[in-house]
């Protein structure tokens, strides 16, 4: 009965979303504030409705209602309760409800703001957010229903349907469910999808305002100012999602790396690339009133890529282009992306003349010019990623031949582009808005560049002779020095003029210019991450060997001795949850015992394995040992694969600093925002005079 109630509420929510869209359009056309308010209230009703429906689903998941197909597919009796709750977004049908729930929460939040100064945007923000919510609820209602039961059809096949199909009989409730894929039971994977979804969903808000601006013709930068913080929040969640996903891959997938250029990873990276370009590009519009067309295109692209990313991972198109046609939701996604993208671009074309810039670029070395170059490079990485993901599908469609576009392609194609981005990260903060010359830039940069060169030469003689690594280290040192010098100079100035100590001066400096210094912290964190990425990509070494008890294996400066292997069942509620194979390894460096590691692999009742490495982590790098689960192992002979991942921990340190930097940049800074807007307006007025 609860399943029917949950489904019924979802159906009601779908129609409420449609009503909200219709009422908002009608209210705008009739200039009726009351009807628009009705649309707003309908939209506000969506979140409680979807919450109720989700509560029904969670109850079914937690209480082992295996007669419901989704519950049967993603849970089992041996799963702990918290995992049964997280199974809500672990399976496709539930994740669509989760998406809708988050979308309705964000849409409600945005409509609760004060709309006095921009009332004309309201109906169109409601239209865009409600259409998006209705689409995802519609997918759950019509195609991937998480409340559907299982039935035997006439031929004895099991089919899923909410209500009994003619001629079918109910499948007796199974005694136990399949259980969630063990790889999805890791803490990183429990938090990673919600983070990505939060990032995806919050990018819908700036897109909704952009479309509202296009439809109403209010194409100044008001929509950008309203949504700046939303964009940063979206970027924060998307970045956190990507980092958590990488850490999950590193901890669970057992291949010694964190990023495999897998299409699913790239699907999440693509909106991040356009979102990052957008974050930089909107600054030019705010400061100089330029690039209005481009900002519209970037946010439209980001929205399209958000939906496209969900489509890629949910339609089955990645496993085979033909699976897309067979999947129920694939064509629906395809149509939705097509319609929204074409409509959005048509609106940009319609408003093209009104989106002309207020000023023009004067120098190719000005900050706005360098930001544009940064946009070009981000778009170039996007082109490589998009084409790399799409081309295998095109190839399969045209020639029938499947191909793999793997890491070698992406590394070669994106490496120089990322190097270019790093270089720009070094010089752009020192270039001026409006006008810069080689002389002024050179004067500001040469000391940092010379110091970075000295560091590179030292590394050449002491650490590596690899050209790629040395180029990378030079760029990292250059950007770090430029950024840190900026912090240093400004703090010194405050210390002198305000009579403050160093820490207070630094704190006040950052507090009063959060956007600027938050951005600088992000740049520093990116460079720390680059150290880790460079380390693992250039210097990683590995070895594999089957060891008898007491036997050792050597790699780099390390020696690993296999001591023992324990194999035992892990029991939960009196049932075997998984079978654990745990090895004990002593790790030595130059003959000195460092620690004992316990690499293991667990096998779940359905035969699915999960590999958990033994890790010895320092700033120098990781010793990463896995007990190879694809070969047989016993206490007397067990196969091990050992990776040395130099410098990889800088990636995680940089990631934490990165999140911290976004928080600084996103923290409210009302005064400066008003001052900037006022100063540009005043400037324009004087120009007009």
């Amino acid at each position: 009965m609860l399943a029917e109630i949950g489904y019924g509420i979802l159906v009601v929510a779908f129609f409420v979303a449609l009503y909200s869209v219709g009422a908002a359009i009608y209210g705008d056309r009739k200039k009726s504030a009351a009807i628009v308010e009705s649309a707003r209230r309908a939209m506000l009703l969506l979140w409680p409705l979807i919450t109720l429906s989700a509560a029904c689903l969670i109850y079914l998941l937690v209480t082992n209602h295996f007669e419901v197909s989704f519950v049967y597919e993603v849970t089992s009796r041996s799963m702990p309760t918290y995992l049964k709750v997280t199974a809500w977004w672990g399976g496709q049908a539930g994740s669509l409800v989760f998406w809708s729930w988050l979308m309705s929460a964000f849409a409600s939040l945005v409509t609760l703001r004060t709309w006095t100064r921009d009332r004309e945007f309201l109906p169109w923000v409601i239209v865009v957010t409600s259409i998006t919510t209705a689409f995802f609820i519609g997918l759950a209602v019509f195609y991937e229903n998480p409340f559907a039961f299982m039935w035997f059809d006439k031929s004895g096949q099991v089919i899923k349907a909410m209500f009994q199909p003619v001629g079918s009989i109910p499948v007796p409730p199974p005694a136990d469910g399949n259980g969630l894929n063990p790889l999805l039971r890791h803490p990183g994977m429990i938090i990673h999808p919600p983070m990505l979804y939060l990032g995806f969903v919050s990018f819908v808000i700036p897109y909704a305002f952009a479309l509202a601006a296009l439809i109403t013709g209010r194409t100044d930068d008001r929509w950008i100012r309203i949504t700046r913080r939303w964009t940063l929040v979206a970027w924060l969640f998307l970045s956190a999602g990507l980092v958590l996903g990488s850490r999950w891959a590193y901890d669970v997938l057992g291949w010694g790396g964190f990023w495999g250029w897998d299409p699913v990873e790239i699907a999440a990276l693509m909106p991040w690339l356009t979102g990052t370009a957008f974050l930089h590009s909107v600054m030019i519009q705010e400061k100089r009133g330029m690039l209005k067309h481009w900002n519209m295109i970037l946010i439209i692209l980001t929205y399209a890529l958000v939906i496209f990313g969900t489509f890629l991972t949910r339609s089955g198109v990645l496993s085979s282009v033909h699976a897309f046609a067979q999947s129920a939701i694939g064509p629906a996604f395809f149509a939705f992306i097509g319609v929204t993208f074409i409509t959005s671009i048509a609106l940009v074309i319609y408003r093209w003349p009104e989106l002309r810039g207020e000023t023009e670029m004067k120098s190719m070395l000005s900050r706005e010019a360098l930001f544009l170059l940064n946009n070009l490079l981000f778009m170039s990485v996007l082109v490589v990623c998009f084409w790399g993901v799409i081309f295998p599908l095109i190839s399969e469609l045209v020639t029938g031949q499947k191909i793999t576009v793997g890491p070698p392609f992406y590394l070669r194609a994106t490496g120089p582009l990322f190097a270019g981005l790093m270089f720009l990260m070094g010089i752009a903060p020192l270039s001026a808005w409006g006008h810069s010359t080689i002389t002024t830039l050179g004067r500001a940069l040469w000391k940092s560049a010379a110091a970075a060169l000295v560091i590179t030469v030292v590394l050449f003689f002491t650490y590596t002779k690899n050209a790629i690594a040395l180029t990378g280290f030079f760029l990292i040192a250059f950007v770090l020095l430029v950024t840190l010098v900026e912090f240093w100079r400004a703090t010194l100035a405050r210390m002198k003029t305000q009579n403050e100590n160093f820490l207070l001066a630094l704190w006040t400096l950052v507090g009063r210019n959060r956007r600027r210094y938050g951005g600088y912290v992000i740049h520093v964190s990116m460079m720390l991450m680059a150290i880790g990425i460079l380390g693992i990509n250039v210097f990683q070494i590995d070895t594999q060997k089957s060891l008898s008890q007491g036997e050792s294996i050597s790699i780099g400066d390390y020696t690993l001795r296999f001591n023992d292997l324990k194999q035992f069942p892990n029991m939960v509620n009196g049932q075997e949850e998984r079978y654990v194979n745990r090895a004990e390894i002593s790790l030595f460096e130059n003959g000195k015992l460092l620690t004992t590691l316990y690499p293991r692999y667990d096998v779940y009742p359905d035969g699915q394995p999960m590999t958990l490495p033994g890790l010895y982590s320092t700033l120098k790098g990781d010793v990463y040992v896995i007990l190879v689960n694809w070969e047989s192992s016993s206490a007397s002979l067990a196969p091990f694969k050992v990776f040395i991942n130099p410098l990889v921990n800088w990636l995680w340190i940089g990631s934490i600093l990165f999140i911290f930097g976004i928080l600084i940049a996103a923290w409210p800074e009302r005064e400066t925002e008003l001052v900037t807007a006022r100063s540009r307006r005043a400037h324009q007025t004087s120009a007009a005079d």
Binding site: P263, M361, M364, A369, M379, V383, W433, G434, K496, K545
Partner: protein, 168 residues
């Protein structure tokens, strides 16, 4: 009679010995043609460049599926028979198609994967360059006409520089 029998037995034994020697030498030749059993690292060096037919984008050296385990065994056998890296890779391409390698060979339609991104990026760079030129040209023209508008200085940077000058 007894001597003949002894002679016959002796000749059979000799024949068996000679045949045994011949067989042993053949076996020795066969075994000596094989390389010693390749190590896991030697197998993985090649397996790392090949991709699992089942799991998307997973290199063969770290793929836990049964199919990949058999493929690694096959690579080990081929290495022990003295096959080169290229021969082994070609064998897998012939058997399972180009999807087993991480980068499609640059032939036929596959050219597009290598050509299109640089073309699009170059086109983007060209458009940007043209836009830059148009912008700077029109702003120079405006300056010549005496209507140039001073770009707004970054107030914060100006203030900072001023304070630093004072400090000196």
């Amino acid at each position: 009679m007894k001597t003949n029998k002894t002679l016959r037995i002796t000749s059979y034994v000799l024949l068996a010995f000679v045949l045994g020697l011949l067989l042993a030498s053949q076996l020795y030749q066969h075994v000596s043609a094989q390389n010693p059993t390749p190590t896991d690292d030697e197998v993985n060096r090649i397996a790392h460049q090949l991709y699992c037919p089942v799991c998307e984008n997973t290199p063969l050296d770290v793929c836990p599926t049964e199919a990949c385990r058999q493929w690694r065994d096959l690579i080990r056998q081929q290495l022990s028979r003295g096959w080169t890296e290229d021969q082994i890779k070609q064998y897998f391409i012939d058997q399972y198609g180009v999807r087993v390698v991480g980068e499609p060979p640059a032939s036929g339609l596959n050219w597009l994967i290598y050509v299109l991104p640089p073309l699009i990026i170059l086109a983007g760079a060209f458009i940007l360059f043209r836009a830059f030129r148009a912008w700077t040209k029109s702003s120079k023209a405006a300056a010549a006409a005496g209507s140039e508008v001073e770009a707004p200085k970054d107030e914060y940077v100006a203030r900072l520089e001023e304070e630093l000058k004072k400090r000196k």
